[in-house]
Symmetry: C2
Amino acid sequence: MNYPLTLMHILERAGMLYGSVEIVSRMPDKSLHRYTYADFYRRARSLAKALQKAGLKRGDRVGTLMWNHYVHLESYFGIPAAGGVIHTLNLRLHPDEIAYIANHAGDRFLIVDDVLLPLLQKFRDQLRVEKIIVVSLTGQPVPEGMEEYESFIAEPAEDFVYPELEEEDAAGMCYTSGTTGRPKGVVYSHRALVLHSFATALGDVLGISRRDVVVPVVPMFHVNAWGLPFTCTMVGTKQVFPGPHLDPASLLDLFEKERVTITAGVPTIWLGILQMLEKNPGKWDLVPGMRMMVGGSAAPESMIRAFDRHNLRVVHGWGMTETTPVGTLGILKPHMEEWPEEKQYEYRAKQGLPLPFVEVRIATEDGFAPHDGKTMGELQVRGPWIAADYYNRPDSRDSFTEDGWFRTGDVATIDPEGFVKITDRTKDLIKSGGEWISSVDLENALMGHPAVAEAAVIAVPHPKWQERPLAVVVLKEGAQATEEELIQFLAPKFAKWWLPDGVVFVEEIPRTSAGKFLKAKLREQFKDWVKEGEGLRTE
Amino acid sequence: MNYPLTLMHILERAGMLYGSVEIVSRMPDKSLHRYTYADFYRRARSLAKALQKAGLKRGDRVGTLMWNHYVHLESYFGIPAAGGVIHTLNLRLHPDEIAYIANHAGDRFLIVDDVLLPLLQKFRDQLRVEKIIVVSLTGQPVPEGMEEYESFIAEPAEDFVYPELEEEDAAGMCYTSGTTGRPKGVVYSHRALVLHSFATALGDVLGISRRDVVVPVVPMFHVNAWGLPFTCTMVGTKQVFPGPHLDPASLLDLFEKERVTITAGVPTIWLGILQMLEKNPGKWDLVPGMRMMVGGSAAPESMIRAFDRHNLRVVHGWGMTETTPVGTLGILKPHMEEWPEEKQYEYRAKQGLPLPFVEVRIATEDGFAPHDGKTMGELQVRGPWIAADYYNRPDSRDSFTEDGWFRTGDVATIDPEGFVKITDRTKDLIKSGGEWISSVDLENALMGHPAVAEAAVIAVPHPKWQERPLAVVVLKEGAQATEEELIQFLAPKFAKWWLPDGVVFVEEIPRTSAGKFLKAKLREQFKDWVKEGEGLRTE
Ligand SMILES: Nc1ncnc2c1ncn2[C@@H]1O[C@H](COP(=O)(O)OP(=O)(O)OP(=O)(O)O)[C@@H](O)[C@H]1O
Ligand SMILES: Nc1ncnc2c1ncn2[C@@H]1O[C@H](COP(=O)(O)OP(=O)(O)OP(=O)(O)O)[C@@H](O)[C@H]1O
Ligand SMILES: [Mg+2]
Ligand SMILES: [Mg+2]
């Protein structure tokens, strides 16, 4: 039967079957807003109706500038249900950049949290949107010339009829994080979002069922909070949103109070939570075995081990804005559970197996790499939820191969078990004497040292070897370590020529809005760095 | 990205990621054949290559006449991988019927178990296939004019290239069970099978992951063994096939030996297993909480309760050949687990919630029924794995509504939780004085009586009420019960006018090849039945 895969089915299903399931949101004043899927369903449809009435046409973009909460969830479904495209704007970017992105996407309307109005003010002038709808989270009056969300959606929508959409129609849109250059826009079809929901819900992926309670810590403006709002709504899971309160204590309180079983976010969030847990033993009574999906940057093995000691389980995954985003996930195969602990951790620190219907390969200069766990090359992927192009960026054709694969810009290996391991970004690679050195491997090893809080390893120019690795390290509060000590710590784990030429200690490593190391900035900063007594080790 | 949902992806993925996972098959001599996904992958591709070489064209049908075992699994993937359509023939049908079905489908080739050659002999003459390939399970010589499977697939297929298929291309085909008339053919697209695999693997449906060990007891000629071979291969689950040995003791041995976690079959299978377990307490050491998916006919509540006492969990689902087959599944919602036990069992005996992307509605004479758990009407469904027509049966257009829903021919209710309950088939309904009586409800209640092995309730003609219910009962070996006693047993559970006018005791209830009651036959047999002292209760 010809039946399109659209988000409307998920919305209708949720309204019909899961009416009594709760959706909880932390408000700016830290109180908890609670309502049910029945409310969400009614209001998402009212939003759709209001948008249509306001003139939204099939394919039109609606920007959102919001934290994670129930109105953002309503927008996730209400905008596509009107035939529109939800375009989530990253509130952590520079105001000029947000304006550039909203204009580049051609957003017609914007829905914004009242607590973000001061941010909006900074680029309001540059913005070419027709209508601004303000979500009044704090009760302050809505500025002149803007509409208030509650009155915008006030009309009941029992009579609302969905537009006839096809599964290839656009439903969502997001720009990349801008780690390596200017953010690029990716458009998600209904089909891609639905298939991604099915795949990520699987038991060997995130394993999300209606028995779970899920907190997306990852922002809803960051690749759809990794698709969790779609997946959870499809299966009828209780959803808990942290609002603007992303500090470790607020999150831990929320996990405890709402009996959370699954959460997701970038490593920096978890490092903060880990420190808080270690400082306050026994303070929070979390659901034993709570799963924490970690992605966006590599999850250091030391972090996975540390959380295991708290009976919290890190699940490591890899993805990109261009892959909707989940591409691989690192849950062990059953037979691996009989392996020695060391080897299990080694595998759990990899980025894992491709999801069903995602294909992966490693391109090298001499063709495609064997699955030997050693040969590095560019990771290329294809599948039904992988982007085929960027929005209005004709210059980006070389991100795709002639035979239709997406070039991720990540460097990886694949081992005989099929586990993908990201060793670098092509732009961050260190090429020493013609051979590649994985900065990520060195960083993860360094972060295993008890005194090290964070470490980034970058290439510095070298007259003989072209490039050599330099470690940039932030020590833990009150901790001490010397360059020599850290190099000695690495020595047993790596070939001699991989060892950094030096270690510099800094207060802070520059980061992107998504908490990723801005290595381009570090490389700029240390481009003139020269080793004392140069040449001794590297000869 | 335009990436079709085809079975080839599943096959390639299995070969690449799950090479070491086992596939176990019980052979006719009761020995266990073991090999791995790596072997399966290689051989399925060799089969595809051999079929292409033998002249198979895109869309051509290949019949299979086989028990559940590894070669059948190879055919599930090898035939579609050649662009062909696997057409599973029901070996339990009358030989004339098998021949009719194979010819109606236009099967070009046939793959058959050597142990089924005596059956094939009975209709060989009527069959219009070009080539017969014999799977030598016992080692006996292959008859003249037929090919042997192992030599047919002997050529390695490293160089085999899949045909370019689209997801709408046909991959499989199956005929209905013939409970209510002549079997009708249903064609499955690659897309339907893939989406069905995703949906049934979900945690709230069958919850199949690579940690499971799955035995499809339901035959692979019966709606693709409910899709399990596709689902398991997609997620990399160990598969165990019972071959021709479907007696309770053989199955229990297999469950114990292979540490089975999930199995599936029709209620008759489980009733046999239950009796065996009760007769031999402690004999089998099964995985605690092993899930048994039951469908095809209603799972009586008494059976669900009985298995709970053995720490085995019945999961009740509804489906049809036309729905690929899983349409609904009866796993409780989390909040129901706080309900009183009685009510939980009542719900677990329902057929459950529609799967994601399956829509259900109840059509009555006055429009669509409310979700009140009371209003009965015809169950209509639609979704991406629901058939849009029957193969070459232009006369069956009225199985579909004008607005594109499939009319199931089942009578059902939907309650406020969204749980579907099948109360009858339209053809088995009892209409007494203008009101409907559910034969299934009466049957299930009767099967809760300790002396009753099986019960079918049918309509008998009545001068005043048009139709009245008659119970046809098989008592358990050595057990005794009177008509009066059984009616008294039902009395507190039903309205007075629902109570059967009589109970007749028989040795056996006639069944279809799939173990379903052949009520048409019973109605014929009892069409002249008259109640002694007629008229007393029903006035
Ligand atoms: N588990 C992981 N381990 C290592 N790196 C990861 C992991 N998950 C994601 N990444 C990195 O994040 C990238 C995807 O991030 P995202 O789409 O948010 O934008 P970005 O690549 O950081 O920014 P831009 O593409 O604009 O430079 C991947 O290409 C990869 O480099
Ligand atoms: N869990 C269940 N409870 C009650 N009935 C069920 C259940 N599962 C399946 N059925 C019945 O089985 C039917 C589907 O069976 P199948 O497709 O094997 O062929 P059939 O309907 O028995 O035969 P035919 O369509 O040729 O008459 C459903 O329409 C329904 O009547
Ligand atoms: Mg990127
Ligand atoms: Mg039928």
